[in-house]
Symmetry: C2
Subunit: 351 residues, 2 copies
């Protein structure tokens, strides 16, 4: 299939960049030292591909992600790295699928009670290590672990998320801050026990030497925000759009807008052009000086934040030539048609 | 069904506020003087409800919206108020459904050629009236209309979108600026002819006296951004979330984040609380001073921008009591369970 046949906006995945990212990460964090996070990519086909690189445990943020992973036969060791107050669907999943193991984060008596009530078997104690979000105070971790064990649950260890340090670009500072955060988690782990110290993400995977496993997801596809870290990953995710109008006053418009891009990290980018703003179904941009764009031309934009971008799309379209074409596009504006080799459903959306 | 049974995050629609908004608008802009825009609400059930208030023509932003409206039997007079370069799906729609009429915006020779090629029968000339987006220069409108008529198309008139004036809160300035924009459109209309002068939106519907029909969508459900206009509409759209954690250090966390809210207009709001930030599946907020929130409690947040928020959700859940409960929630933090009376699919998502 030719990319020109795609209805735009369309999510494109460059398979060469994807493979590069998976190889790079598997070299740094082999096997179970990486627990790829499905919240970023929401795609069981991508998860299955990640198993080819040696990763067989996955992180989920929602019950729906757990259900989808189990249905795809990838539920052998899932960590629901999130608190849930209604866990019946997890219990059902464990009863229905013998091969499924779902470990759930708890951080309070209420989440512990919910886990027991719903039929959860395995938990980790979620410890707050600096990000103002979930996680118990480190001083409460041991008590909660004891209560969980008394309740008949297996406590597999601890987790923490130093999310506030992902975009600390000063390497020395990041090193120091991650060490401080992880000192809290390690201290809690000494009291809690278990084999897991689960933490981290794409932004801290190179400096977090204390976790037994890193919960990174974005590294696989990347976005313009994480690109600022310059961690050796390549941009694999793009949104293809059709140019609708080229105005003589100096702007052009294409058909990808607020429903095609997560906007919390700002505007998407288009190399060589200046993106001015997004409307519901449009992006308005100032084309490169030498570009000769015409209505009907295709352009490929880079999302600022991959997770909420992917969550808007039903599928991603694969090609080994997306990034290859980027250099020519920088000069011409318009992207060339490329061969689409596969379609992966974004099948883990919703809740 | 009780709202407590909903999987969160869940989109709630207050039917009392919705009815108030539809009554209010139908009084101001009866019948065909309003062409409700489906890009905001993406829901054929809501569109069908709007017909009960006298509106039988609708505006769409995507081909998918047109297809869904025709499939729902609501395609008698659709305006695709957007340029499209590939129109075969429109042509198929017209051939397949006798009762369907889809008028398509054109603003260039390329979009005219595409319309003819794809089997489009009716067009409007989209004129740029100040927003840097699509629309031809006013001076080109007559030439384009002539070319369309020579090509065998029916030119139903003109459209323009003064989107840059929606949030002009100074009433006198808005009046003056809308008049200037519309002067361009009216001048073009004098040369183009046809029965339609289609323009406007929720933000300008009270001052735009020149359009024969207003393309407003958000008024039906509203958001915290449009609420700043204080135009007499009530907030009907909320996202129900479950409190996951209440931290002694002064923050609480609930399970609605970047995949539950369009973020281009900023954070969602929670009356009585201060929303601090959103993560992929979480909102962190500072609860009201007297609130006694517990994990498991429900809260109801107001989106900052309805269109890209709705596009993340599969369905909206209806109740006449959502807004009624808001006053109690302001005091207590937690919302009470309410009776859910219906489920409307958000069936016009995607492209």
């Amino acid at each position: 299939m030719d990319s020109a046949a795609l209805q735009t906006p369309a999510l494109l995945l460059d398979t060469v960049a994807l493979e590069h990212n998976l190889v790079t990460m598997a070299h740094r964090l082999p096997g179970m030292t990486l627990r790829p996070h499905m919240k970023a990519t929401k795609c069981t086909s991508l998860a299955r591909y990640q198993t080819e690189f040696g990763h067989h445990g996955f992180t989920c943020a929602t019950i729906k992600e757990c259900e989808g992973m189990v249905a795809a036969g990838l539920g052998g060791d899932l960590l629901l790295a999130n608190e849930v107050l209604r866990t019946e669907r997890i219990g059902k999943l464990l009863t229905a699928a013998d091969a499924a193991r779902v470990t759930v984060a708890i951080d309070s008596q209420a989440t512990l009670d919910a886990a027991i009530l719903g039929g959860v078997r395995d938990v980790v104690i979620d410890v707050n290590i600096g990000l103002p979000r979930c996680g118990c105070d480190p001083s409460e971790a041991a008590r909660l672990a004891d209560a969980a064990r008394r309740g008949g649950l297996t406590v597999r260890g601890v987790m923490g998320y130093e999310g506030h340090l992902m975009m600390q670009l000063d390497a020395a500072k990041q090193q120091e801050q991650v060490e401080q955060s992880m000192a809290l988690l390690i201290a809690a782990h000494c009291e809690v026990g278990g084999e897991l110290v689960s933490a981290g993400g794409t932004g801290t995977h190179r400096v977090n030497r204390w976790a037994t496993e890193i919960q990174a997801g974005s590294y696989a596809v990347m976005d313009s925000d994480y690109a600022r870290r310059d961690d050796g990953f390549h941009q694999a995710l793009f949104v293809e759009a059709t140019v609708l109008a080229v105005n003589q006053k100096g702007w052009a418009v294409a058909d990808a807008g607020l429903k095609a891009f997560g906007m919390d990290h700002g505007l998407p980018s288009l190399p060589g052009a200046q993106v001015l703003f997004c409307s519901d179904e449009h992006v308005t941009f100032r084309p490169g000086a030498d570009w000769k764009l015409q209505p009907g031309d295709r352009i490929r934009l880079t999302p600022a934040h991959c997770d909420p971008t992917i969550a808007y799309h039903e599928a991603m379209w694969l090609s080994p030539a997306v990034a290859l074409d980027a250099e020519a596009a920088l000069e011409l504006g318009a992207s060339s048609p490329i061969d689409i080799t596969d379609r992966w459903a974004v099948d883990l959306r919703g809740w």
